[in-house]
Point group: C2
Chain length 613, copies 2
C-alpha cells in the first residue's frame, strides 16, 4: 500500500509548498503553450514582436496590470484566511493542489462539457468522475456528473423524483396495457426500480410519448404527493420545491432529536398517517452532514422503513443529501471500494493511519448510515466541500443509470442522434454549459486520492480528528475576563466534523443574555467588525429557532443552567465551526495552537461583555 | 480616449503572449502566497523542510506529478485548438487574459459568493458585475448576477416570470383589498411594473404571506398561461418549462422567417387568438444571437407589440435570451453607457476603430433590436460566451431590482436578518454555492474592457468582422475535387457573427445527397473522425428540420438548385461557424489564411465524396 502524505497536497497555511505549486503549474502551462504553438506549426504567429513593442500594446498591458493590482488589493484586504488554524467557521478551506492544478490547466483548454464535441478530452474525465461517485456509494449501475453546486444537485434530484414518479400515470394514458389493472393509487406507489424497468422496456418513440405526458407536461404534479425532509434541511429544499412546481405546500418537515438527526419514529408515523389518508409520498430526503451541525441522519433506518412500507404497497423516492458529508463514505471503503465490515474497520483505519487516536473514529451509528447509502435512489455529493476542490464543483449520482432517460433532452446542434459519441453528458443534466476545467480538477484530485480509505479516507480522518480536538478544547475551555468567569459549552459530540458551541458567563441563567454574548462574539470574529486579516480568531454562527428545531436543544440549555422559558419565539444563538482544516488533526500541532486560541478568545470576549461594537 | 490593443489581452493562437501571461500570473500567485504567510506572522509553519524532504512526502509529489502528466497527455491528445484560425465551429474560443488571471487568482482565495461572510471580497466584485450588466442594457434600477450558465439563467428567468405573474392571485387570497374589484383575468394580466409596485408596498410579514400563496406553493401554475418562444429556441426553454412545472404543454413556438427571426405577425396573431380564448400569456422570449444562426429577433417590435397589447389589458412577462449576443449591445453604447443615436453610430465606430471596413457594421434592424433591450423584464447574458471569459460564467440581469423579492429565500446560517451586509447575493438566486473566482474573472475582464464601444465594442466588432470575412469567403468558394466542381453556399447574411453554409456538388439537385456530403464534411472536420489536433480545418454542424424550422430554409435550397420535395420529414444539414476568433477580422490576416483554408477544404472533401469514414 502506497503511503500518501496529505501535507504534500496543500499549499499550506504558511505557503510552505508555494514553490512546489508554482513549479508544477509553470510546467503545465508550458505544455499548453507548446501545444498551441505546434498545432499546424507552419502557420505563422499573428501577433508580431513589433506589435508587442508598440505603445498601444504596452499601454494595454499597463492597463491590464493596473486592473490586476486593484483586484489583488481588494482580495487581500477583505478575504478570510481559511487555511489558518485560527479559522473555525464556515465550510471553507484551502483546496488540494491537484484540484487547483487541474482547474487551472483545464481552463486553458476552455472545454464545455455540455457536449462531447465541445469537450473531447474533459467529457471523458467527467464520465470517470461520475464512475468514482458511483464507486463511492457502491452503485454498480450508477451514473453521476459534476454540477454547479449542491442546490442545483438537490434541484436535479427533485426533478428526477417528480418526473420518475409521474411516469406510471403517463403510461396509463399512452400505453395502458403496460399498467393494466392498476389503480391510480397503485400507479402513484409503484417502486422506483419497477418504473425504471417499465420505462426501459419502451421503444424510443413510445418513451418520448410517455415522457411527453409525464410531469414534464406540467399536469398532475400535485397528485404526486408529499416531499419529506428533516427539520435540519438545507434551505435549498424549499427552493427546489418552489422551482419544480411541486410546491412548498407539499413539503413536510420531520423534527430532529438532540443529535440533530431526523426522528425516525415521527417519519414512520407521518408516512403511515399520509398513507391512511391516501396521500402519496413523492419522496423522502435524508441528510449526511447537515449544514449547521454536520449531523448524519439514520439512512439505514430510513432504508429499512422504505422496505417495510414497500411490503404494504407504499413506495417513495429516496434521496440522500450528502452535499457536505458524502466523501466521508471513503473511510469505510477498502482499496477495492468494498465496504469494510465494521469488525475490521479499526484495523483498517490503523493500517491506513486515518486517525492518530482511534477514539476519534466514527460511531457505529454513522457507519451504518454511510453503509446504507448504496440503497437510495440518488445522492448529492459536492467536491467543492469535503472534496477540497475549488468552487464550483457540486455533484450528483443516481443508483440506476437508466433513470437518466426520465429527464433527458436532445438538441440538434450538439446532440446528433446519428452519431454515437463515447460519452454524452449534456442531454442528461439540468444545466447547459459547464466547465471541462471543473471535471479536470475533480478528476485530478480523485486520481491522487482514491475515494476510499487509502485516499480521501485520510482527508476525512484528518478533518474529523481536527473537529474532535476542537470539540475537546471547546468543551473544557474556561477563561476569566474582567473578573468574570466564562465557560464554553459544546452542544453535541460531532457525528462528523462540525462543532457548535456557546459561551456563557458563569451564573447567567438568561437565554437572551447568553445569545447576545455569542452574537457579539460572532460579530467580533467575522467580517462584520472589520478586516478578517487582522482578527486572531474567526468563526461563524447559526441559530436554532424553536419554530424550526423544536426542542432539540432544550436539554442542552437546561443543562448549562439557562432557566428562561423556551417558547415559540425562542431561539439559541450558537457559534459554529466546520472543521475543514487539515492540519489540526495532529495532537502536537493542535496543542501548539491551544494557547493562541485561548488568548484570542479572551481578547475577543472583552468587548463582547461590554457590548462594544 | 484610451486606445486598447485587444491583441495584448490574448495568449494568442501561437502563444505569442505566453510569457506575458505567465509573468503576470506568477506575480499574482506570489502576492497570494505572501498574504498567507503574513497572516499572524508569529504563527510558525506546520509543514517543515524536514518533512518536505522525507520519502513519503517526495513519493506523494511524484504521485501528483504522474497524475498531472496523465491529465496533460489526455488534454493534448483530444482537445480542440479553438484559438486557431482553422477553427470555424462551436461557440468556443480562447479567453481573455484578464479573465483567466482573475479566475486563477480568485480561485486561490476560494470564496463562495452565496453569502457575504463566505466572500467578503468577491461578493462586492459580483455586485459590480451586476451593475455592469445593468449598464449594458440601460437598466438604471437593474440588478444582475453571475450564474452557472445560460440554461440556468433562462430557468431563473422563467422562475421569475412564473412567481411574479402569480402574485396578484396570491394577493387576492391574502390581501384582497389590494386588488379589490379585479377579475381573475385582470389579475392574470396585471402589468409587471404594477405587480412589483404592489409587492413593494407590502410589509415584510404580508409579503411573506403573499409569497407563500404565490406559484411557490405549487398551486394554480397552469392558470398562468402560455410561454411563447421562437422556433429557433435553445432547448433549455423546454427544459425550463419542464423543471418549473409550467409544463411543455404550455410552450408555444412561433415560426421564424428566412433570417431566422421570430415572425412578428404570427406572434401578434397568436397573442390575439389566445386572448380571445381568455388564455393568459405568461411570457414571451425574444432571442438575441440564436444558437444555430446568431440571429437577432426584432426585440423592438416585440416591445411595441407588448405596449399595444397593454392598452387592451393584455400583459405578459418579456424575457430576452441574450446568452450569446448580449455583449453585442456594447457597440451601440458610448463611453458613458448612453445609447449612441443611429445617425452618429458610423462616426463613433470609426473613431473607436471597431471595424476595419465599416460595411461590416450591424444593420439598422439589429441596432433597433439591441437598443430596445432596455424595455424587457429580464435578460440572460453569458460572459463565458461573447464575454470571452472561461467556463463557467453565465449571467442574468433584471430591469427592476425590487423584483428579486418574488423569488428570495433566507437561511439562518448565512443570512442573519439582524445583520446588514454591504451586499447579499445568495438569497436572490436559483443556485447556492458559487465561485467568487468567476466574479473575479468577469470583473477583471469588464474593468479592462468596459461594456461599451471603447471596450467590449472592439471585441464584438472583431468577431463580427471575422464572420463577415468568412461569410464572403464561403459565399464565393468553389473547388474542384476529383473532377467534380463543388460550390459553397451561405444560407443568410449574418446578423451577428455566425455563418451557416452548405457544400454542394455542381448539378446535384438531391437534398439527401447534399445532406450526406455536409454530414460527411462535418465528421471529417470534427473529433468523430479522430484527433482534432491533426485536422487542417475544424467545423460544427446543425440541422434545420421542417418539423421545427418550417419553411425558413426552403427558398435557400430552391435557389441553389435542390429540387427534392420539402415535406414533414425533410431536413437540411448545414455546417455552422460561430466566428469567435478575434484575429480573423483583419483583412490581411484573413487573406493569409484563405489559401490554407481552401486547401484544407479540398483535402477534406475528397474522402467525403467517396463517403469514406
Amino acid at each position: 500500500m502506497e503511503e500518501i502524505d496529505v501535507n504534500a497536497l496543500l499549499i499550506g497555511g504558511k505557503s510552505e509548498n508555494g514553490e512546489l505549486f508554482k513549479s508544477l503549474l509553470s510546467h503545465l502551462i508550458d505544455e499548453h503553450l507548446g501545444w498551441r504553438q505546434n498545432y499546424m506549426p507552419q502557420d505563422p504567429p499573428l501577433i508580431s514582436p513589433t506589435e508587442q513593442a508598440s505603445p498601444v500594446f504596452q499601454q494595454t498591458v499597463q492597463r491590464l496590470k493596473t486592473v490586476m493590482e486593484e483586484l489583488s488589493v481588494r482580495m487581500r484586504k477583505d478575504s478570510v484566511p481559511w487555511e489558518s488554524a485560527r479559522y473555525w467557521g464556515h465550510m471553507n478551506s484551502e483546496t488540494l493542489i491537484p484540484a487547483l492544478l487541474g482547474y487551472y490547466f483545464g481552463m486553458l483548454w476552455n472545454e464545455n462539457n455540455v457536449s462531447y464535441e465541445g469537450s473531447p478530452a474533459a467529457s471523458l474525465l467527467e464520465e470517470e468522475v461520475g464512475r468514482d461517485f458511483a464507486k463511492l456509494f457502491s452503485f454498480p449501475n450508477g451514473w453521476g456528473h459534476i454540477c454547479a453546486d449542491g442546490s442545483i444537485a438537490n434541484l436535479e434530484a427533485l426533478w428526477y423524483a417528480r418526473n420518475v414518479k409521474s411516469l406510471p400515470l403517463a403510461m396509463k394514458e399512452v400505453k395502458p396495457e403496460l399498467v393494466a389493472g392498476k389503480s391510480d393509487w397503485e400507479l402513484l406507489n409503484m417502486p422506483i426500480e419497477k418504473i425504471i424497468d417499465l420505462m426501459s422496456s419502451l421503444s424510443e418513440v413510445d418513451l418520448d410519448l410517455v415522457k411527453r405526458k409525464s410531469a414534464r407536461s406540467g399536469k398532475r404534479i400535485e397528485d404526486l404527493g408529499k416531499w419529506i425532509i428533516p427539520a435540519t434541511k438545507h434551505y435549498s429544499w424549499l427552493k427546489a420545491a418552489d422551482i419544480t412546481g411541486v410546491g412548498i405546500d407539499q413539503v413536510i418537515m420531520i423534527p430532529v432529536d438532540d443529535h440533530y438527526r431526523m426522528k425516525i419514529d415521527v417519519l414512520e408515523k407521518t408516512i403511515e398517517d399520509l398513507s391512511a389518508q391516501k396521500m402519496p409520498i413523492l419522496g423522502v430526503v435524508g441528510v449526511v452532514g447537515t449544514t449547521e451541525e454536520g449531523a448524519i441522519d439514520h439512512i439505514d433506518k430510513i432504508c429499512a422503513l422504505r422496505k417495510s412500507f414497500a411490503k404494504k404497497g407504499i413506495n417513495f423516492y429516496l434521496h440522500a443529501d450528502c452535499a457536505y458529508g458524502g466523501y466521508a463514505r471513503s473511510i469505510i471503503l477498502d482499496s477495492n471500494y468494498d465496504v469494510i465490515p465494521y469488525a475490521d474497520l479499526e484495523h483498517e483505519l490503523r493500517e491506513n493511519k486515518v486517525f492518530q487516536d482511534l477514539s476519534n473514529t466514527i460511531s457505529k451509528d454513522d457507519y451504518e448510515s454511510l453503509k446504507a447509502l448504496s440503497e437510495v435512489d440518488s445522492i448529492t455529493v459536492d467536491p467543492h466541500k469535503m472534496g477540497y476542490v475549488p468552487y464550483t464543483a457540486g455533484g450528483i449520482v443516481i443508483r440506476d443509470e437508466r433513470m437518466r432517460n426520465a429527464i433527458s433532452y436532445f438538441a440538434s446542434y450538439v446532440f446528433d442522434k446519428t452519431i454515437d459519441p463515447p460519452v454524452q453528458i449534456g442531454p442528461y443534466i439540468l444545466e447547459g454549459s459547464k466547465a471541462g476545467a471543473a471535471a479536470a480538477a475533480v478528476w485530478a484530485a480523485h486520481r491522487v486520492l482514491p475515494l476510499n480509505i487509502t485516499g480521501y479516507g485520510r482527508i476525512i480522518g484528518r478533518s474529523m480528528e481536527g473537529a474532535r480536538n476542537f470539540y475537546k478544547f471547546m468543551s473544557e475551555l474556561e477563561v476569566e475576563v474582567e473578573g468574570k468567569k466564562i465557560k464554553s459549552h459544546t452542544i453535541y459530540y460531532p457525528d462528523f466534523n462540525m462543532v457548535d458551541w456557546v459561551f456563557n458567563v458563569e451564573g447567567n441563567t438568561d437565554l437572551k443574555v447568553m445569545n447576545e454574548l455569542n452574537q457579539n462574539f460572532f460579530i467580533q470574529t467575522s467580517i462584520y467588525s472589520g478586516m478578517p486579516y487582522l482578527k486572531p480568531i474567526l468563526t461563524s454562527h447559526t441559530d436554532f429557532a424553536k419554530g424550526e428545531y423544536g426542542d432539540s436543544c432544550l436539554d442542552f440549555i437546561r443543562k448549562i443552567g439557562i432557566t428562561s422559558p423556551w417558547d415559540s419565539s425562542s431561539h439559541l444563538t450558537t457559534l459554529r465551526a466546520s472543521t475543514m482544516n487539515l492540519m489540526m488533526y495532529d495532537a502536537q500541532s493542535f496543542a501548539s495552537y491551544e494557547v493562541k486560541l485561548k488568548e484570542a478568545i479572551k481578547k475577543v470576549l472583552k468587548p463582547c461583555l461590554k457590548n462594544e461594537k
